[in-house]
């Protein structure tokens, strides 16, 4: 059936990357100007809460509290709870307490005037009612999960406003909803490859690259601060926060285990279905030794 409709899209620099919001409707774009603004505001609010970079974020208040209880917004607490659950469910592979490593290496900003551990255990994060505290002096970072969560919140907001079909793509953390199907291509240094057709689902991609590419902000390490082997991991899951977090988990396990571990979360480890085309202008360029960071 051929259907008539309008696609409306906006893009903003947000969450440390480029965030695209798209909707499919029968109406013109002016009717949705406010909706776009509000959807971006929802994500900006998540950034303001969970940014490690921002000294005044809710997350930073917790990191600076030296073990004292800190009242936190509901969304920040929920993301911390998700991170704690994943820590247990992945036998510690997903570990949000490695902020110290990243600060020591200059990957995250150092706004701490006290000694801290480079790693810890998510079990040492205590949550009670509307507050949390860190029972060891590690630095909590939610970079591996919060961007996906912000995408979920944006989708939730649009659906509450009556949007039936659309998507949010936060630089590769993608969620599609409604009666649309989105073929997705995976970007790598070698070009683009067909990956998956996405419908009513989320997809996240993370890359480990030993050369710390300038334009690749993610940074995946294990509990000892070691890099895993180079890889590009895409995960499909029902929600973007889960897909986002599982890319970090799968990057840390051998290839043969990835499918099985994803399956435990009703998620899918996605692989490209065709050979990437070679873009020599990219592959022959020298990798930069500098890596930027997510701002969330």
């Amino acid at each position: 059936m051929i259907l008539q409709g309008n696609i409306h899209k906006r893009m903003k620099p947000l969450l440390g990357t480029f965030v695209e919001v798209g909707i499919v409707t029968e109406e013109d774009s002016n009717a949705y100007r406010n909706l776009f603004n509000q959807t971006f505001s929802v994500m900006e609010n998540m950034q303001n809460q969970m940014s490690f970079h921002d000294r005044d974020s809710s997350l930073s208040r917790l990191n600076h509290a030296k073990g004292e209880w800190v009242e936190l917004p509901e969304d920040t607490l929920r993301v911390i709870e998700y991170a704690k659950q994943l820590y247990r469910q992945t036998d510690g592979l997903f570990n949000c307490t490695l902020g110290g490593y990243l600060v020591k290496r200059g990957k995250l900003p150092d706004h701490f005037d006290f000694d801290y551990q480079v790693n810890g255990s998510a079990d040492e994060i205590e949550i009670e009612n509307h507050r949390a505290r860190l029972n060891a002096p590690f630095l909590l970072t939610l970079d591996g999960i919060a961007k996906g969560y912000a995408v979920d919140k944006a989708v939730e907001y649009m659906q509450m406003q009556g949007i039936t079909s659309g998507w949010v793509n936060a630089g590769g953390d993608l969620r599609v909803f409604g009666d649309i199907e989105m073929p997705v291509y995976q970007r790598s240094n070698e070009g683009l490859s067909h990956l998956i057709k996405l419908k009513e689902n989320a997809l996240a991609t993370s890359e480990v690259n030993q050369f710390n590419r300038y334009d690749c902000p993610s940074h995946i390490i294990n509990n000892q601060g070691e890099w895993p082997d180079d890889c590009i991991i895409s995960v499909r899951a029902s929600q973007a926060w889960l897909a986002d977090a599982l890319t970090k988990v799968l990057a840390l396990v051998p290839y043969a285990q990835r499918k099985k571990i994803a399956g435990r979360f009703d998620a899918c480890f996605c692989q490209v279905t065709d050979k990437p085309s070679i873009d020599k202008s990219v592959t022959e360029s020298k990798p930069s030794s500098y890596m930027s960071q997510n701002t969330i």
């Binding site: 409709g5 291509y185 902000p217 895409s234």
Partner: protein, 177 residues
Amino acid sequence: MKTINPFFLLPVAAITCPAYGIQYLSTEQAQQVLFTHATQFMESSIELTEEQRDRIKEISDVRQRWKKQQAWKAYEGDKFVGWFIIDKVIGKHEFITYAAAISPEGDVLGIEIMDYRETYGGEVNEAHWKKQFVGTTISSPLKLTRDIENISGATLSCRNVTNGVKRLLALHEVVLK
């Protein structure tokens, strides 16, 4: 099933370095989005001297590549409410045109991506890809006969736009204040 395609192949010379891109907002649309209550936009493009460009680099640590910067003054009635400036930045994969709204005092009021293009080799030349792209603008009605296509890659940093805005704020300091 609705299937649609939001990626539009731009008619560029695309034999060895093809690009595909998306126009998000026209100049007029970006003006309306960033200055919702403005009643008039007066074109006031800025010609920069060598000294001014050097000063901008000194303040922002970002090079001002071009001598002319597209800009408009936004008014609500007779009241000047800010600058609307169009700028371009280049990343490793992407070429971006964006608009910044800057208050008369030099505060960033908002940023909107107007046009986003990525460059790759290879498959974009292939017939399969070319067939999927439609030369039109975002505001054009589309027949929903095609798939949406999207790219999931390692997250790209938006540092290039952040640096661009730093440069525009320095430009405001040097020329517009």
